[in-house]
């Protein structure tokens, strides 16, 4: 044996080193055992999520079991709010979809638009698949996963199309693009009537919504936020479902927060005092029915957008209009206007085109 190993100094050093090593191994074994114990009774899908989240440093956000924006508005808004919170703090997220039992296209467009926002800001966005076969099939067929692995840069317009089968055609922009909306309608009419037609009511609706996003989605500046327009073609039913979403401040917050030099300053107070309403749901109904536009804006020639959409619905230009903005849910066709407990920061509009709606040939 070398003389070095018998020296007191070395023995002390070696003992300390061995103790440290033992401590490290014990801590590792303890943590590993605890981690494995935490996996007991869990499915492989759950374990995979846990591992991905742990190793990738993700924030886990679980989607509601009933992932339909119109059918389960409160829970989906909470889900969106959590994602928005992480986006604002630039935290990477892992969206847990494995528990989703039912999913709708309106939720997929919301999820898709959120994903592009994350990716375009270089914030990692990951997730898993629904275990439920039907939900998985809807999500896969929507083309969502094809976009999940793409890279997006921050830009003014996005086109996310999947041309085959039942699919979602999604566009995003900041400007008022009536040429694009006409193109989207042209494609939709081919699904509905097997020929290209014009639908002026839907064109009007899209222009008004784009204008609202362009003019009012941010408090102090115009043309800052994207709108997202998505058309879901259901060929076997000759039906197309449209979803429009923006992540601006929403209708009511927009009216509430206009700066003092704005034409919309104190619009909410004016409105509520005028009609004696205390809730936003009633207010939305009054705005849609055109009772309040002049008062809202203070300018008689503005604020005709939402009433214009309502009139188009009344003329049977489209069917099944739903509006979700801030704390209001509106099933407009059935006259069901509800105040929500959760606040959606933005505006979501859904409507459908089918063979019973009016259109123009040529």
């Amino acid at each position: 044996m070398k003389k070095l190993y018998t020296e007191h100094k070395f023995k002390r050093y070696n003992k300390r080193r061995a103790l440290k090593s033992l401590r490290r191994r014990l801590v590792f074994t303890y943590k590993h055992t605890a981690r494995n114990k935490s996996f007991l009774g869990k499915s492989w899908a759950d374990i995979r999520v846990e591992k991905e989240v742990e190793q990738g440093g993700y924030e886990k956000v679980t989607a509601p079991k009933n992932f339909t924006f119109i059918g389960n508005t409160e829970k989906v808004i909470r889900f969106i709010s959590r994602l928005r919170e992480h986006f604002d703090k630039k935290r990477k997220v892992f969206v847990v979809l494995n528990g989703v039992k039912s999913i709708s296209y309106d939720s997929i467009i919301v999820l898709l638009s959120i994903m592009v926002r994350f990716k375009s800001h270089n914030i990692k966005f990951n997730g898993d698949f629904p275990r439920d076969e039907t939900a998985n099939k809807i999500l896969t067929e929507s083309g969502f996963f094809e976009n999940l692995f793409k890279n997006f840069r921050e830009k003014d317009t996005y086109n996310l199309n999947k041309e085959d089968g039942n699919s979602i055609h999604t566009h995003a922009a900041k400007a008022v693009d009536s040429i694009l909306s006409a193109k989207v309608i042209g494609q939709a009419t081919k699904t509905v009537w097997n020929e290209k037609r014009r639908c002026q009511g839907i064109q009007r609706t899209m222009i008004e919504l784009m204008l609202n996003t362009n003019n009012h989605a941010t408090i102090d500046k115009e043309g800052e936020r994207h709108w997202w327009l998505s058309a879901n073609h259901i060929k076997e039913e000759n039906r197309v479902c449209f979803s429009f979403v923006d992540y601006g401040v929403g209708i009511f917050k927009s009216l509430n927060n206009k700066p003092s030099n704005s034409k919309f300053y104190k619009a909410m107070e004016k409105l509520k005092s005028l009609v004696g309403l205390s809730n936003n749901a009633g207010l939305l109904e009054s705005i849609l029915k055109g009772k309040l536009h002049e008062t809202v804006t203070g300018f008689y020639f503005r604020g005709k957008g939402l009433p214009g959409i309502y009139e188009a619905l009344g003329r049977n230009s489209f069917s099944n209009l739903y509006i979700i903005s801030n704390n209001v849910f509106a099933d407009v066709v059935n006259g069901n206007y509800v105040d929500l407990n959760n606040n959606f920061e933005g505006t979501f509009i859904y409507w459908e085109l089918n063979q019973t709606n009016i259109s123009c040939n040529g």
Partner: protein, 117 residues
């Protein structure tokens, strides 16, 4: 009486937003642009020549309310034209969307009412 016809579909197939600043690049389809480049100059010419101006609204993809309001209401609000002269000179045609004629008449009367305080 002789007449001149403006077909809006010849100006643009897809009428766009209210203001030029809101147009998508190269779209050239706002109500403000239509009013300033086509409607207002033609209207002045027609009035000078004591003719009628027929405006054909058909054949487009559809109108936003802002486009129509800025085009027609803007004649009174921005160009200071007289409501009665406009009403006497303009004839609107819209077979595809007849309600547009009422809408435009309302925009004109609203603009007239406000311009007179």
């Amino acid at each position: 009486m002789d007449s001149i016809v403006i077909k809006i579909r010849d100006f643009t197939k897809a009428p766009g937003p209210r203001y030029i600043k809101e147009e998508v690049r190269d779209a050239n389809n706002s109500g403000e642009r239509f009013r300033d480049s086509s409607l207002y100059p033609t209207l002045l010419k027609v009035i000078t020549e004591s003719k009628k101006l027929i405006i054909d609204l058909d054949g487009t993809e559809g109108y936003g309310t802002s486009f129509l309001e800025e085009s027609f209401g803007g004649l009174i609000r921005e160009k200071g034209m007289d409501y009665k002269i406009i009403k006497d000179t303009i004839e609107l045609i819209s077979k595809e969307e007849p309600y547009l004629i009422d809408d435009i008449n309302k925009y004109l009367s609203d603009a007239d009412g406000k311009s007179k305080g």
